[in-house]
């Protein structure tokens, strides 16, 4: 199986693309496009499982790396690889793809060829963002991921599809203009798009600090819109409201958050440190603001949108707390959020398909009619609000505790308040949808419970929520390999170079070189909660973590 290693990432990128071409070429007969898409996504998912199976946990640096020249001048490489940071995100995309196909199985009845081919292109673009190590290649996939999304929202929007699509596209496309200029400026100065080399050059102090600040800001701006971070979330609600279920699952969060970790905090540690206080404040506002707005929504898609804003802001808080623990928690929370949100979207999509409305007030008393759906929904809700033993707990707990101990107590308390509000709106959503008296709508439309296809994808998701809640170390070990980054050789170069304090204190890995590189972190307890850049590590033991 090791023979696959050099081409595995390329295969993961190409299989959905091949599926898209196949869907586009074959006729739209019966459910043929659906089956091809399902096949392609399942194959992709199996291929992504190869990655954790052969990932060497203790090894820092990138694995499964491929670097081929693509364009001579400027020197753009087809350079892909993964580390602990991106490993599980790739698997998550692989997992959510077949689920998206199943969620669209009955919901998409017209122009299935267009839908499934674009959906598969979207998969390639997303995986591409996670595995690209060449900045230009990364930018390519980043932009490419917008197109299928925008077209599909326009085609299958509920009411005002093309308006929402335009909003989504412009909101995310315009900030990528400064991003591209920043990338070009970096290239003009360093003559490379290679991530590791740029990381090294940015840390070494060769580049003028003033300009680097603007470059980092341009990167941050593009990512912050994509996440979205508080004042830039204008597109989110409309997009959730209009997007087909399969796409709403993937639209928010992952790409932007990963990019923040890899290309903002990872590439410009000193600049990220300077901007961190602002982002912490924005993230806390986002947590509370999203939660408050979610409380008063009448439409469950909009409620999910603001809930997402709240949850994603919590992850942003973790990223810009700049603690290693916080970063592990952030990645874990991205995974958990992906799984939980996927399940919730699938269920809400199933409800909308059955009752043709997303107004919460029209529902009520569904638990008696759809017991399986109700059970799954309740479990997913509990996972989302962070009940112990379920996936959401681990991430939220790690994030809040690391924020509390190493960043800011008030921020942690405010964010915890947001989490509590999260429990309020999610549980009241459950109550209004599934319990209480049966509404006229649910009474007059007798619909069956979840069908086999839906159950077949929900069950693994529910199991996954449990496993992620009980045995987080399965994931955290590899995540930490990615978060404690690069080879110590480079950090010694920097230290011995005798740079100014700003250059030396900034990069996260300067310190990590001095830390003992454990091949696997034994448990959550031993995670250091030290603020990166502090010259001491303060191991903290927390009673809750021992549970």
């Amino acid at each position: 199986m090791r023979a696959f290693d050099p081409i595995i990432l390329t295969l993961i990128l190409l299989v959905p693309l091949a599926g898209a071409v196949l869907v586009a070429l074959l006729p739209d007969r019966d459910k043929l496009p659906n089956w091809i898409a399902l096949g392609a996504t399942l194959v992709t998912f199996l291929l992504t499982l190869h990655l954790p199976a052969h990932f060497v946990a203790g090894q820092s640096g990138f694995q499964f790396e491929v670097k081929l020249p693509w364009i001579e001048s400027p020197a753009i490489f087809y350079h892909v690889g993964i580390d602990g940071l991106s490993l599980w995100l790739v698997v998550l995309v692989g997992l959510l793809a077949p689920i998206g196909v199943v969620a669209s199985w009955n919901a998409i009845q017209t122009r299935r060829k267009v839908f499934y081919s674009l959906f598969l292109v979207q998969q390639t673009a997303m995986v591409g963002v996670f595995v690209s190590l060449d900045l230009m290649l990364y930018y390519g996939f980043w932009e490419l991921s917008l197109v299928p999304m925008a077209i599909l929202i326009a085609m299958y929007g509920r009411k005002e599809g093309s308006k929402a699509a335009l909003k989504f596209f412009l909101f995310t496309f315009i900030p990528s203009a400064p991003l591209l200029v920043a990338i070009l400026w970096l290239y003009a100065r360093t003559h490379t798009f290679n991530f590791s080399e740029l990381q090294y050059q940015a840390a070494s102090g060769v580049l003028p600090a003033g300009a680097l600040f603007w470059v980092a800001l341009a990167f941050l701006f593009a990512f912050a819109v994509k996440v979205p971070v508080f004042p830039l979330h204008g597109w989110l609600a409309d997009t959730y409201n209009e997007a087909p279920v399969a796409l709403a699952m993937v639209v928010a969060g992952k790409l932007g958050l990963y990019s923040m970790l890899r290309f903002h905090v990872g590439l410009f540690p000193a600049q990220a440190r300077a901007m961190a206080p602002i982002l912490i404040v924005l993230a806390v506002i986002g947590v509370l603001y999203g939660a408050c707005l979610a409380l008063v929504q009448r439409d469950f898609w909009r409620l999910m949108a603001f809930a997402a804003l709240s949850h994603l802001s919590l992850i942003v808080l973790a990223i810009y707390g700049l603690t290693l623990t916080g970063w592990s928690g952030a990645v874990y929370q991205i995974l958990s959020h992906g799984v939980v949100d996927g399940a919730l979207f699938l269920l809400l999509g199933a409800l909308e398909l059955r009752y043709a409305t997303s107004a919460i007030a029209s529902y009520g008393g569904l638990a008696a009619k759809l017991p399986q759906a109700a059970t799954c929904f309740v479990i997913a809700t509990l996972a989302m609000i962070g009940l112990p033993m379920l996936s959401g707990f681990i991430g939220e707990f790690v994030i809040l505790s690391s924020t509390f101990t190493a960043v800011s107590r008030s921020a942690a308390i405010a964010a915890a308040l947001g989490v509590i509000l999260g429990a309020v709106y999610m549980l009241s959503l459950v109550q209004r949808l599934f319990y209480g008296p049966e509404s006229a709508l649910t009474h007059s439309n007798p619909h069956g419970d979840l069908h086999d296809g839906e159950l077949a994808v929900l069950t693994p998701l529910v199991v996954l929520m449990l496993v992620m809640g009980i045995a987080p170390s399965l994931w955290l070990n590899t995540i930490q390999t990615g978060v404690h980054p690069p080879p110590p050789i480079k950090s010694t170069v920097i230290l011995s170079g005798g740079r100014r304090a700003t250059a030396a204190e900034g990069p996260a890995f300067v310190l990590s070189g001095a830390q003992p590189q454990t091949s696997r972190a034994p448990s959550l307890r031993l995670l250091s909660a030290a603020r990166v850049g502090d010259h001491e590590s303060q191991p903290t033991t927390t009673p809750e973590a021992q549970r």
């Binding site: 400027p74 017209t110 932009e143 085609m155 496309f173 203009a177 591209l180 200029v181 070009l184």
Partner: protein, 500 residues
């Protein structure tokens, strides 16, 4: 002394001229009721041979012919191939979309071919009077073509507007030529380049440069010389608009490159800020105006103005980087723009029953392939990666960043966000569900010639977006040959493909 006979230096132009004359002769000798459609095939074949001949010119050493009036170099070959390619696509497109019974089909094809002669000559001329003659040949053909649909009101309006404003601009250029002749005593570009910096009367040189720039910027429809563009594109038949928006512009950009980088490189501190302003104006004016358009062709006309602006951003690049970026952008722009016009010709039909953006609603449901192609070209025009439009913008703005014009690059990329709004509006309208009350328009007639034309455009756009290496290399050789003028002694030089 010249080892290459002069005729080989103008081989593509000669072939195109012979083709045009042959078309006119055959047209005149055919009985009046016979279909002239096959003359289009004759034109297409002639253009293909000319294209092949220009590639063949790469085998000669770089040098001039006909007493130093025309040149062959990697630069001229690059633009010849580009122009012949565009003309070929436009011809193939016309073959299937011109109505069978339309008048003067013979002249139509002949004029396209004669226009191509002028444009090709414009890129290879190194003597300012020949430049002027070439510009006139191409302009006069296109003036007539713009008014080809004379039964509608808009056709003649377009032609007259284009003619009046175009003549005015040509006059500016001619005036500039006269002044530079007064300042240096010669009209040969290489001699001017040597004499202009040491000319006695520098104000005269400056005035000459300004006048020439005005004339050329008019031809590339850069703001503030752009007002003719929307009316002309709207009034001209769509295949002609496809041609007008690409080929003459490519030729004019080649001339602009020659003028600023070859004649006046020493005045860079003057023309670079000037072109900076024109670039920003063109992008902004073009995009803002395009946002408000309801008519698809007018929208594309304003977008063409904006693209001229993006292309001018490349002129902020120093030396061969800027030239290569501009040449590459011209190619990428030509491929996608000719493609989008081709698709629109098919959708809207020759008589343009569908001219408004709202008429395109539900296109992807009615004819999925045409709808997808339209969206594909629009995506390329937006500049999404893995299409030619992206690398065009990429090289253009990286040349600007490299030349220190970071503000220009930021303005340009923000503008491309603005542009995304209207391109996407069309794409998304095409992707929407058709409304119930909308009458189904007739199915377009899609013949093999059109399929060939569109496939050529799609392939080029994709190749430029995914493996741009070869074209980029050609653009760099072109840039290099423009930077390094041939030796005056015309000794057999190095092969045209320069090392870089």
């Amino acid at each position: 002394m010249n080892p290459v006979p002069g005729i080989y230096r103008i081989l593509p132009e000669a072939i195109l001229t012979l083709t045009g004359v042959a078309i006119m002769l055959v047209d005149a000798s055919l009985p009046p009721n016979l279909s002239r459609r096959y003359l289009g095939f004759l034109a297409a074949i002639g253009t293909t041979i000319a294209l092949w001949a220009s590639v063949g010119q790469l085998a000669f050493p770089q040098g001039t012919g006909f007493f130093g009036t025309v040149e062959t170099s990697a630069f001229t070959v690059f633009f010849h191939v580009l122009i012949c390619g565009i003309v070929l696509v436009a011809l193939l497109l016309s073959l299937d979309t011109l109505p069978e019974h339309s008048h003067h089909q013979g002249e139509y094809y002949a004029l396209i071919v004669f226009g191509a002669v002028g444009m090709c000559l414009l890129t290879s001329a190194v003597e300012l009077l020949v430049v002027f003659i070439a510009l006139e040949i191409s302009s006069i053909s296109t003036y007539i073509l713009a008014g080809y649909r004379k039964q509608t009101g808009r056709g003649p309006e377009a032609a007259i507007k284009y003619f009046l404003l175009g003549s005015f601009a040509t006059a500016f250029l001619l005036y500039g030529i006269a002044l530079i002749f007064g300042a240096t005593g010669t009209t040969e570009i290489y001699q001017i380049a040597q004499l202009a910096p040491i000319a006695q009367n520098q104000p005269l040189v400056l005035a000459a440069m300004a006048l020439m720039l005005v004339g050329i910027l008019f031809k590339v429809s850069a703001a503030p010389f752009h007002v003719w563009t929307p009316d002309v594109y709207e009034g001209a038949p769509t295949p002609v608009a496809a041609l007008l928006s690409t080929a003459p512009k490519a030729a004019a950009f080649a001339l602009l490159l020659r003028v600023v980088y070859e004649i006046f490189p020493h005045l860079r501190s003057l023309w670079a800020p000037l072109l900076w302003v024109v670039a920003v104006l063109s992008m902004t004016v073009g995009n803002l105006a395009a946002l408000r358009q309801q008519n698809v062709k007018r929208m594309l006309a304003y977008s063409a103005i904006a693209h001229a602006g993006y292309l001018l951003a490349a002129f902020a690049g120093i030396g061969s980087i800027g030239i290569a970026a501009a040449a590459f952008y011209t190619a990428a722009y030509a491929a996608m723009n000719v493609g989008v016009f081709a698709v629109i010709t098919l959708i809207a039909g020759y008589d343009e029953q569908l001219s408004l953006i709202d008429d395109f609603r539900g296109l992807i449901y009615r004819s999925p392939i045409l709808g997808s192609l339209l969206i594909f070209f629009l995506i390329s025009l937006i500049g999404i990666p893995f299409t030619g439009g992206f690398f065009g913008k990429f090289y253009s703005f990286s040349a600007a960043v490299d030349g220190g014009a970071i503000a220009l690059a930021i303005i340009g990329l923000l503008n491309s966000g603005l542009a995304a709004a209207y391109y996407l509006r069309l794409a998304l309208v095409a992707a929407e569900r058709p409304s119930a009350e909308q009458a189904a328009p007739p199915k377009p007639h899609v013949g093999p010639a059109v399929i060939a034309a569109i496939s050529l455009a799609v392939l080029t756009t994709l190749v430029l977006g995914i493996v741009p290496g070869a074209v980029l290399h050609a653009a760099q050789s072109a840039a290099h040959t423009l930077q390094v003028p041939p030796q005056p002694s015309e000794a057999p030089g190095a092969p045209l493909q320069s090392p870089q």
